[in-house]
Symmetry: C2
Subunit: 464 residues, 2 copies
């Protein structure tokens, strides 16, 4: 008999039909006469209840139906008598596909998040992580669908790179050199001519620069791939390996860029509410009681758009009125998460797009404003999360861009390919980056970024 997924069985009302389901036992309970098996196959957070007339089955089979065991069940679809589900299966036949001993780590009792991280090979079998990773899938789909519907092309920018000009953070070195026999030149410098790529190579920190090449050819592109930071940050907000989405659009100015960011992120959140109701309800009940309310709240409000300079004034007023921040507030300061969250959660009580930051705290490629002090940067600030998106209009003028590069002493020797976009047929263009795991944190209500990526990479941890 062909297997039916539990998500589909739960929708059916053709009572009397015999169906086959396969999955993993969550619990078995009941009396000597009747047992109730809660079976889950990962297709939905909901279990199907299987009613077993115990005397019709071998003791040996019943004994093997333990938490974690994998079974195949033929059963008749019946209207459920108990509450909590509409249909259940009256068991006709059971086959044990894989037993599960009492040493199985995921027994019924609750586990700490830290315990589950140590068992990340199994944690996707729990309700919480099943919900998180089904939602993660849905957010990836939402992202691809949004950009496809809006005429963007998905661009795979390189993971291994020989450029390191962006300075977005410490990089991982990638090499095939024999570390036991490192060839050096006469000055004692390591000779990379015999390394795989013939020069020193690293893992990318951003696909933006290559994304700009795509945008100035195909018009509108987006990247969606892994990026890396070799920073020794052991916090609930940092990963050494994370996924990033970076749209880049020819002819968009900073206002178009803000419109795109707001429309895009609302589309993703709406997708979650429309497509992940069961998983969101579970998370709302057991992880974060304000989750669904917060998602609706973001959808229903226009984001505040505010210049950095105005934001600093608001924060300075807050300080004058007695609000204590850990880090100082002054024009020119890089905002800390506490400042961003004050603006969002306490002052405006809605998402904020902060623009026109001092050039000193932003990257070299951002378009200079006429004041020659601020650049056309934009950060989208969210409740709970702080910065969820960072972007800018790019400097399209070759001379101004070169001026900034020289001012900042950026090593551009390998960057001829980027500068050529400003040399031949340069155009205004804008883009931004969204950290995928930050979006998942927001949409699931989870607190630690290690719990929204299947196998997190952090300092001293590359397990699984």
């Amino acid at each position: 008999m062909e297997r039916t997924k539990i998500v589909d069985v739960l929708q059916r009302t053709d009572y009397g039909t015999v169906v086959n389901v396969k999955g993993w036992v969550r619990t078995r309970r009941g009396s000597k006469a009747v047992n109730f098996i809660a079976l889950n196959d990962g297709s939905t957070i909901k279990n199907i209840q299987i009613v077993v007339d115990v005397e019709k089955f071998d003791d040996a089979i019943i004994k093997d139906i333990t938490t974690g065991a994998c079974i195949s069940v033929d059963g008749e679809l019946v209207q459920s008598q108990g509450k909590g589900q509409s249909v259940e299966l009256q068991c006709r036949n059971i086959e044990i596909l894989g037993v599960c001993g009492a040493d199985y780590p995921l027994q019924k009792k609750g586990h700490t998040m830290e315990f589950l991280r140590e068992h990340a090979n199994l944690r996707m079998r729990t309700n919480t992580f099943g919900a998180v990773f089904r939602i993660r899938h849905n957010m990836a789909m939402a992202i691809h669908c949004y950009f496809h519907e809006h005429g963007f092309f998905y661009l795979n920018t390189p993971i291994i790179t020989a450029s390191d000009c962006e300075g977005a953070g410490q990089m991982f070195q990638v090499t095939t050199k024999n570390l036991y026999d490192l060839k050096k030149d006469e000055d004692g410098k390591i000779d990379y001519s015999d390394d795989f790529f013939g020069k020193q190579a690293s893992l990318t920190v951003s696909g933006q620069l290559e994304g700009e090449l795509g945008a100035t050819a195909l018009g509108a592109i987006y990247t969606f791939g892994p990026t890396f930071r070799a920073e020794n940050s052991n916090t609930p907000r940092h990963l050494a390996e994370f996924w990033m989405i970076e749209p880049e659009v020819a002819f968009n100015d900073i206002t178009d860029n803000m419109n795109l960011a707001e429309d895009f992120i609302k589309y993703c959140i709406r997708w979650a509410l429309d497509n992940c109701a069961d998983d969101l309800e579970f998370l709302n009940q057991f992880v974060d009681k304000q989750l669904i309310e917060r998602l609706h709240f973001v959808l229903e409000h226009d984001f505040v758009r505010l210049a950095y300079t105005e934001g600093i004034k608001i924060l300075e007023e807050a300080v004058q009125n007695g609000h204590k921040f850990e880090f100082p507030v002054y024009w020119g300061a890089d905002l800390a998460s506490e400042h961003e969250r004050y603006l969002v959660e306490q002052h405006f009580k809605r998402p904020v797009i902060l623009t026109d930051y001092p050039k000193e705290i932003k990257a070299f490629y951002m378009k200079m404003n006429d004041d020659n002090k601020t650049v056309r940067a934009m950060d989208v600030l969210f409740p709970q999360i702080g910065e969820i998106i960072g972007g800018s209009e790019r400097e399209a003028d070759y001379d101004k861009l070169m001026g900034r590069i020289e001012e900042l002493n950026i090593p551009m020797k390998d960057m001829w390919w980027y500068l050529e976009t400003r040399k031949w047929g340069s155009c205004p263009h804008s883009g931004f980056g969204l950290g995928f795991e930050r979006l998942i944190l927001f949409v699931t209500g989870m607190q630690n970024i290690r719990d929204v990526i299947p196998f997190p990479r952090t300092p001293k941890n590359a397990e699984f």
Copy 2:
């Protein structure tokens, strides 16, 4: 005036309306009185023709409308007089956004593929590469849509890994160690305890093993991410960095796996024919005259399903009948591309799924057949390409799997997390891997894998 994309303008018939388009000049030709500009914005392979009444514009502006220049044009939509397009724009206003000098490498004349690879930062602006990368985007969309519609969840398996058991090829090492001051232990071995992850780490060669963790929790998953091989292979078929799609499904046996592979790849090809007609027609005309015919051919035929042993018999008969192969044919031999293509292109004249390979030439995790000589492997063989998909039913039995691991001396010290799937609630499951760039080669008719990924990484080359 708001910009309209050229792909949309070309669909319009509201003659008389004034629209704004922005893009890059492909050519400007004409007389002293009337000029014709072919403008492209990357949204489609088609250009919009702009008719310029020369005397109405400054000489300086006309002079700057050179190949590669970026311009903004307001023009009245009119029915085209010439052939090759249905609508054109009668120019009202032109703004030069970015000039383009005569030193621009992509002048009108044809370029060699090698020349364009050296200018990969600009090559997406050409017709051929625009077509290839729009199709690449569409194939990524098709893949995500197929799996989403079929209840699979997208799983991001790790890029950096500390396991190296699969032995699928040479790996790149990832490190933050100071190579000028490598700490060694008393035996002279490099001490990785102070490396970022506290042990030696590499770039992944496959997400399959982690994918199996996902499938045995969420039921059906797929990966779609970059994978790496540090092999010194300078061929038109090899990349050091490429993208791979790996579905993995609980409860699927080898037949389900074959059905999935055939249905999936036909869905992708149908998507290309349905959504990329203009780009495919261009490639069919200028790159590969059999391209569209070949795509239809694959769609219209059931794939032949054949045991390896039967395949060898056919090849041996061919040899007896005088066919010359470079590599020898015998039971136990790993098939070369020439053998695969003989079966597909000359013998069966359609795609072939070859199954039940000798265990010696396949990976340790494949399910053993009852003959104890062959395993439930499957390779999908395509015309032009050879192997496009490789997969198998996995060994679900803990003892049998451990037996193979010991037989093959596979270093499993870090693999406890994988083996636990067979220990607790083990289930039959199957999966396969599709090299994304091989699919793009097939769907575009391009000949060199370096021309179907934006920025190829190959030995001695990590440019851009």
